[in-house]
């Protein structure tokens, strides 16, 4: 795997050489006294695409949001790039946050900014770039996610669902993150667009040496794009491993998920294809 050195790594080398870029231990998170995640353990390895599956309302988004710090956890620990998120100062924490990009389910584009301004926003705030370079880099990012320059001055409300996802992806890639969190990236896309999106993620992962944490229900994405799959049920990770292992597992939930009516048409032999 082409593990790049982290762009923002401090001179003391924090995070360099750590195999698990994200590791969660005994994580408990809940709402209103009802725990959703009950002592969850998960490792995400550097440079992999991890597919994360689980039932609706089972806490997939909760885990993502807990890792990126939008939901407070009750107990347990989360290490990202080998750093304990709780032990970080405010400053280190925001430096760390710039090393990941998040693609929200609905895109979460700023509706009052144009596409151009949306993509430029993180760069404008965090980097010192000349206006010309800013234009060139933002256009390069948009072209990287397969968008034409014509969309530059459109408002998010004028875009189709697939384009919104692409622009949001370009924005989340703006700062060359090392980890990319994707929350159901292919939901709401037609199979062709979804397939394109998977290939795009794989290409970007290889180009930029990303680690991708992808919450998805899309069985095709799991087959084509993911190196490993982690399955969440009853607030815990019940299994991790390549998709082939998942398909052969005897766990009732996994059988129901991967061999249910929706999954029957697929042979499970597609295997992983790299672009």
């Amino acid at each position: 795997m082409n593990a790049l050195k982290p762009n923002g790594a401090k001179p003391n080398g924090s995070g360099v050489g750590v195999e698990n870029v994200i590791s969660a231990r005994d994580l408990v998170v809940g709402f209103h006294n009802v725990p959703v995640l009950k002592g969850l353990n998960l490792d995400v390895k550097r440079g992999e695409i991890l597919g994360f599956v689980g039932g609706s309302g089972g806490g997939k988004s909760v885990l993502t949001r807990t890792i990126i710090g939008l939901i407070p956890k009750w107990s347990g620990s989360i290490h990202v790039f080998g750093e304990d998120l709780d032990a970080l100062s405010e400053e280190d924490r925001s430096a760390l946050e710039r090393r990941w990009g998040v693609l929200f389910q609905g895109g979460a584009l700023f509706s009052s900014l144009t596409v151009r301004q949306n993509v430029q926003f993180p760069m404008r705030e965090n980097l010192e770039l000349s206006p010309r370079l800013l234009e060139e880099i933002s256009l390069a990012k948009l072209e990287m996610v397969g968008l034409h320059r014509d969309v530059l001055d459109k408002m998010p409300s004028e875009l189709s669902g697939g384009m919104v996802k692409r622009v949001a992806l370009a924005r989340s890639l703006a700062l060359d993150p090392e980890i990319l969190f994707l929350d159901e990236p292919t939901s709401g896309l037609d199979p062709i667009s979804a397939g394109d999106f998977d290939e795009l993620i794989m290409a970007l992962q290889q180009t930029l040496g990303l680690t991708v944490f992808m919450v998805t229900h899309d069985l095709d994405s799991l087959h084509t794009a993911c190196d490993r799959v982690a399955a969440l049920a009853d607030g815990k990770i019940i299994a991790t491993g390549p998709i082939e292992d998942m398909l052969q597992s005897d766990h009732p939930w996994l059988r129901a998920y991967f061999h249910g009516k929706r999954a029957k048409t697929r042979t499970g032999k597609t295997g992983r294809k790299r672009v």
Binding site: E128, L129, L133, A140, K141, D153
Partner: protein, 379 residues
Amino acid sequence: MAAAAALLDARVVGRTLVLDAGGPWVAAEASHIEALVENIYKRAYTAEEVNINVSQVERLDSVGAWLIERLRRTAAEANLKAEIKGLNPRYKILLDEVAISNKEPPHPHPKKKALHDAIEHFGETVAVAGQDFYAIMQMLGSIVVVAGRVAFTPLTLRFTSVVHHLDRVCYRAVPIILLINFLIGCILAQQGIFHFRRFGAETFVVDMVGILVLREVGVLIVSIMVAGRSGSAYTAELGSMKMREEMDALRVMGFDPVEVLILPRMIALIIALPLLTFIGSMAALFGGGLVSWLYGGFPPEVFIERLREAITMDTFRVGLIKAPFMALIIGLVACVEGLRVEGSAESLGEHTTSSVVKAIFLVIVIDGFFAVFFAAIGV
């Protein structure tokens, strides 16, 4: 760290210009690197080809990769043979990726001309005012049509919805309307007494407060309050329903949004405003009477006696007859603006603001028309 490795250096080897790139070519260093990239070709070289040697680059991200590509392109544009050498294979895909981007120069930002823009803006405003009038008339028309249809089939009226909105725009507005009008009544009376006292004409304060409150101030204050309180709420509700395609959902289920959403709101508003005007006027008279008693020194019996002489039933009617028209214009503006909301949060805010501003403006304009009309018929 190899701090010694300069970011970019140039040397001439024979007929070849060799550019040595080194160190971290990342976004954090972009301003330095870009300056170097811009200046490197400014010196005069007698070279026919350019070799960009990137073997000393320690780290590379998309910004750095783009700047290397820019180095190459600048040379290529000057008809020099440009090549990138010593590239770490793991960066190759990244460089290939940026090499196919930015093929055309970026769109220039449209230039702003102050005077031109001001005139254009003025023209647009006039055009929008015309469109507003048209849209309000259109909304009025469709409400009249729906109201007519409902009048013939009264069971189709959404009675629950009307009551719900009546509760929101009328009943819950009572405390604030009472308070504000009471205070306005107090202030009018206090100012009147203070200034009339000089001519020994304090008792005329009762005339002033009575006529002013019943004819003008009561209905105006209530209308402005309702425009700010309920008009804005109508716009925001209808706007966000439109944003989330709820209106379209209604329409495809065979319902008319005007009938389901707008008519109940309009009816509630038209019922609410006269009631609130009445309550508000009474509160203002009460406030005026209280101040006359405590500050001006004439007891309530005198105030009431004087009021009876000063005002007629017509004074009261003139104020109250305006209220439904005010309600109509507030509701129309609110609904028109609500239906104009587009996808963004900003658009919702913009239309809610303009709903309130336009409603208050039109309330005052209509009040002016009524003043002219009543003067003409001598009431």
